[in-house]
Subunit: 387 residues, 2 copies
């Protein structure tokens, strides 16, 4: 038996989504959209239809959407696209201290344009400290980025309150929010969110890799980072990748149509998983109990090193991710876990798991069988002594 | 019967290539590469293997390759990646006057960094004028871009001679060449080409959309345009799109393994097509007869407007592209055709067609049946009088 819980970094594409994409590779609408022949018209119509479905799932007008190939591109477009080609007076970007690396890197990249990045601390469960946010917002604040849901510890920020603080203290600042871990997990209408720019990623709603989107309100004027001919996407020149766009739209539509059933299912399995794992001694949940995304489980195991846990579990068919997955190559503890006050050892022994709508009780049974044994073996090896 | 000849802009994915990609969407190696679990190792191994296959097909060491999502990204990376983050003294980019729009836009985008773009004229068949190139290359020349094969009129430039001129007149200049229409059509070893940066695109070798690559020699130091975490691609951060990369590698390998058979087949069908169409009165071939890519056919029909021809042909199941396809939205005549001295009317009545290795004699028969009738109808409508 194999159970894949490393959904933070990649997702296997569900069969019905792949099936929806398949005709567009070579059987129909394979033409370049907007050319003057039937296959091109077919492609153009399919692009427009897919953008419409995606916009509807996000609750935004289609004209507010911009496609990119992935979350890195979307984050760069959000930050650099807001400042390119015009004089900018306000030169501070304010981030929560637990932003994912996509956001962090894209924001810090503005330093080459003379910007500075200020990080706002969070509390022990990852909620942005409102007093600190108020203090960080000044006349110099150009933009503020707080992910609605933390990729890593599942914290659901109180976006309304944070946005109100920003509006009051720095009314001209743009509010950017990564919604990748909110989309398909929380009910929302994009246009009604108190933000200027929202970012979502296809694979996180069980669509294909290679597609991401940004939507923006009226205030945010973006310029493209690249130069080139385009078909329907002026903010990211090049041609739409129709099969991937169809897959993204299909996945987004399914995620929203089945939202309550999916979230209830994910939450129930996630709660089983978390309770089962917290029954192992010397463990702690990272992130809040409630106000938490329904799919997210992040647990620290004292006396066992995260990388070692992932390998040990992998040997028994359970695939999980250690710490902040994106920092894995540096073998540093996650900046998110350090920000919520975890000591080095707890941060290093942390495991991130996500539940999909497609997991079953049998999957959780298997994980709860494998995990305690793996931790016990590793603790013996490391000579961990229970207090 | 339907015959799709608009391969300049999009290609239907051949079944065997799609088949090679399919397992990577959800059945295997769907993990994020380089993580510490089996599905991740599988993905990492598949990324490395695919990069190796692609590099082998291109005749370059894998470490010289950089992936992007498409040709627009690759062109921007080539031009802007050469100048970002360092002081640049030489500030002229020299282009052939028939560069494709991807190259043209990316080069002109450097104007915002204080660069100027100089265009070198070509002769009536699209060959770069060597005297003019020599004159354009000065101490201020930062880079020179000439596509080996013209996307639009198929001209195969004498790269060796052009490169020698650049080396002599502007020894420090970088030579950038779009090889999209050379790859899979001409025999070459990337590392032996007299260029610093080469660009190729997946769909042009009948791989999936969403993948392109750049390779570079030792002299060319590139910096990434975007900031973000990455797995194996420091020059374009983000995660590799494994299914698309597998498809690109598969398609590239097939293109090279079958190169002589494919080119002989394409050339034979293309010659049949061109001869058949030139039998229609008041037509002319654009681009050279020989020293021409084996798949390219570009013909001007006097007294018939290009867009109208595409629509008329489409109604009868023949899909072609009018003029410089990329400029279609502007309804301007192709800059390439104007550069080779075509008058406005001839440029406006031009049709671009490309033959794939998968076309058959029956396809050409059908096109040669439909086309003369379409031209005749349109000429009647426009009141064209034969001289």
């Amino acid at each position: 038996m194999e159970v894949y819980l490393d959904l933070e970094n990649a997702t296997p594409l569900p069969e019905p989504v792949l099936k929806a994409m398949l005709p567009y590779f070579g059987a129909r609408a394979y033409g370049h959209s907007a050319l003057t022949h039937r296959i091109g018209w077919e492609a153009y119509a399919a692009v427009e239809e897919s953008l419409g479905r995606l916009a509807l799932a996000l609750g935004v007008p289609p004209e507010d959407l911009a496609l990119t190939h992935d979350a890195v591109e979307a984050a760069n477009l959000a930050f650099e696209g807001l400042i390119l080609g015009r004089p900018i007076k306000r030169k501070t970007v304010v981030l929560s201290s637990i932003e994912p690396l996509n956001i962090l890197y894209a924001a810090e990249n503005l330093e080459r344009h003379g910007f500075r990045v200020v990080k706002v601390p969070v509390d022990g469960e990852g909620f942005v400290r409102e007093d600190a946010l108020a203090e960080a917002c000044t006349e110099d604040t150009h933009s503020v980025a707080v992910s609605w849901v933390s990729h890593e510890i599942g914290t659901i920020q109180r976006l309304d309150r944070l946005s109100a603080i920003v509006r009051e203290r720095a009314p001209e600042a743009y509010f950017i929010s990564d919604l990748s871990d909110a989309f398909g997990r929380l009910a929302f209408e994009g246009s009604a969110l108190p933000i200027d720019i929202g970012l979502v990623t296809s694979y996180k709603v069980f669509g294909p890799r290679g597609a991401a989107a940004l939507f923006k309100g009226k205030r945010a004027k973006l310029k493209p980072l690249l130069a080139g001919p385009y078909s329907t996407q002026p903010l990211w020149p090049g041609d739409e990748n129709l099969p991937l766009l169809v897959g993204f739209a299909e996945a987004a539509e399914r995620a929203m149509a089945e939202l309550s059933a999916r979230t209830a299912h994910m939450r129930r399995l996630r709660d089983r998983l978390v309770e089962g794992l917290l029954a192992i001694p010397h463990t702690m949940l990272n992130g809040p109990r409630t106000e938490r995304a329904p799919d997210n489980a992040n647990i620290s195991f004292l006396g066992a090193e995260g990388e070692a846990i992932t390998v040990e579990c992998s040997d028994h068919g359970v695939y999980v991710s250690s710490g902040s997955a994106c920092t894995r190559r540096m073998l540093q503890p996650s900046h998110v876990l350090l920000a919520i006050g975890r000591k080095y050892e707890a941060a290093h022994g942390s495991i991130l798991m996500k539940i999909s709508p497609f997991h079953t009780d049998a999957d959780i049974d298997h994980v709860l069988k494998i995990f305690p044994e793996a931790i016990e073996r590793l603790r013996k090896l490391s000579g961990f002594k229970e207090a």
